[in-house]
């Protein structure tokens, strides 16, 4: 826990939680789909 807290103090990027990173990544993907960079995603 202490190690994690130290890491959080050191790095501004790591102050953002995984939760928020996931939302940002999802929105980035949504924007790329919207503007046409990602056309079609096969399944």
């Amino acid at each position: 826990m202490a190690t994690t807290e130290n890491a959080l103090k050191k790095s501004p990027a790591s102050r953002i939680s995984w939760d928020t990173w996931a939302v940002l990544a999802a929105f980035l993907a949504a924007v790329l789909v919207r503007i046409g960079v990602i056309h079609r995603v096969p399944w």
């Binding site: 826990m1 994690t4 890491a7 959080l8 790095s11 990027a13 790591s14 953002i16 939680s17 995984w18 939760d19 928020t20 990173w21 996931a22 939302v23 990544a25 999802a26 929105f27 993907a29 949504a30 789909v33 919207r34 990602i38 056309h39 079609r40 995603v41 096969p42 399944w43």
Partner: protein, 361 residues
């Protein structure tokens, strides 16, 4: 998280400049998930060609089984662990993108039904787990962690509560192990019970979202039944997740009142800090899809991106489940969790069947 916690795969790597170390594990998740997809497509075809009687196993179950096989035989090598721990990140990405498949009206309607059932589920689960903890003479804070884990949302809720009520890390490890072990069992039992009871996709999805504790397992248990049930399971589970801040705050105030935890000074900030942000992301994508920000083709692309993210999650569920490590955590918390989970599963099944009769799904 505890340094002595016996499930290293669960430990989350913090995002930082060393993010490159997650790549091997993410590739492993992708490889296992894709292998699950290939097995779904080819095993059934091969069995049919050779006139074998073989059940149609979906990619979700193949991915979980492959992960379980690796985790419980050769184990997950250290180089992959940081990446495997990102499975919850992919889960949240998948949930946010899944918002594109829900119109806002559906979210409000289904979310409203879910919210009413979730309120009943949380109240019933906390009351019953607290009662069981007393009967089995568990430590009060361990009982609190088990109650929150089974009532709200598994591992995330336990970790959030541990910090808020100053619980021992050992208690948190016990509670997490119990919730994960029971979640793994639910993956195999829930679809069987759902089919035996001929539950509709709607009823089953709602039940899985209400009764299975960890979000990854709830999503997988839903998807194992059908795609539609998977969507509903995620929605119901997301509604439960939205409650996490309120339940943790209530427990923090309770334990602070007893002088055994720090007083919560700013309740609004506390709620915001504990609130799962992916719930907001899910709602926002749903709003954008509802108001035509994406065309039909783009919604299809987002839905498929969501499926790929879930595929990585399901591989991670199998990879981080190690039955040997879980056995080491002790029997009593597991027994309390198991009894509680069975009662909660029956209780929520009753709620869902009652709701099904009222709304006629």
């Amino acid at each position: 998280m505890s340094e002595t916690f016996a499930l290293p795969q669960v430990k989350q790597a913090q995002p930082n400049l060393q993010f490159l170390r997650v790549i091997p594990g993410v590739l492993l998740l992708a490889a296992i998930g894709y292998a699950g997809k290939l097995l779904e497509q080819n095993v059934g075809r091969y069995a049919k060609a050779h006139h074998w009687v073989f059940p149609n196993i979906e990619y979700v179950l193949w991915a979980i089984l492959l992960g379980l096989l690796i985790s419980n035989t050769v184990g997950v090598p250290a180089i992959f662990r940081a990446g495997v721990a990102t499975y919850e990140f992919w889960l949240k990405v998948g949930i946010v993108l899944l918002g594109a498949r829900f119109l806002l009206g559906d979210v409000l309607k289904l979310g409203g039904v879910s919210l009413a059932l979730v309120a009943l589920e949380i109240t019933g689960a906390i009351a019953f787990m607290t009662f069981l903890g007393r009967v089995f003479h568990l430590k009060p804070k361990l009982t609190t962690l088990l109650a929150v884990g089974s009532a709200v949302c598994g591992v995330s809720a336990i970790i959030a509560t541990q910090g808020a009520i100053d619980a021992d890390e050992e208690d948190s490890s016990f509670a997490i192990a119990a919730i994960l072990a029971l979640g793994a069992l639910a993956l195999f039992t829930f679809p069987l019970i759902g089919h035996a009871l001929h539950l509709s996709d709607h009823a089953y999805g709602l039940w899985a979202g209400l009764a299975v504790d960890n979000t990854a397992e709830a999503s997988a248990a839903g998807a194992l039944y059908s795609d539609a049930a998977g969507k509903l399971a995620v929605l119901a589970k997301t509604t439960r997740n939205a409650m996490i801040g309120f339940v943790v705050l209530a427990y923090a105030i309770y334990w602070a009142g007893k002088g055994q935890a720090e007083t919560v000074k700013n309740k609004a900030a506390f709620l915001w800090q504990k609130f799962p942000k992916f719930v907001l992301g899910f709602l926002l994508i749903s709003v954008l899809a509802t108001y035509g920000f994406f065309n039909k083709e783009q919604i299809g692309a987002l839905a498929n991106l969501s499926r790929w993210a879930f595929l990585l999650t399901f591989a991670g569920v199998g990879l981080r489940t190690n039955f040997r490590e879980m056995r080491k955590q002790g029997l009593r918390p597991f027994a309390v969790g198991a009894i509680g989970e069975v009662v909660i599963a029956v209780f929520t099944l009753g709620l869902v069947i009652g709701a099904q009769k009222i709304w006629g799904w």
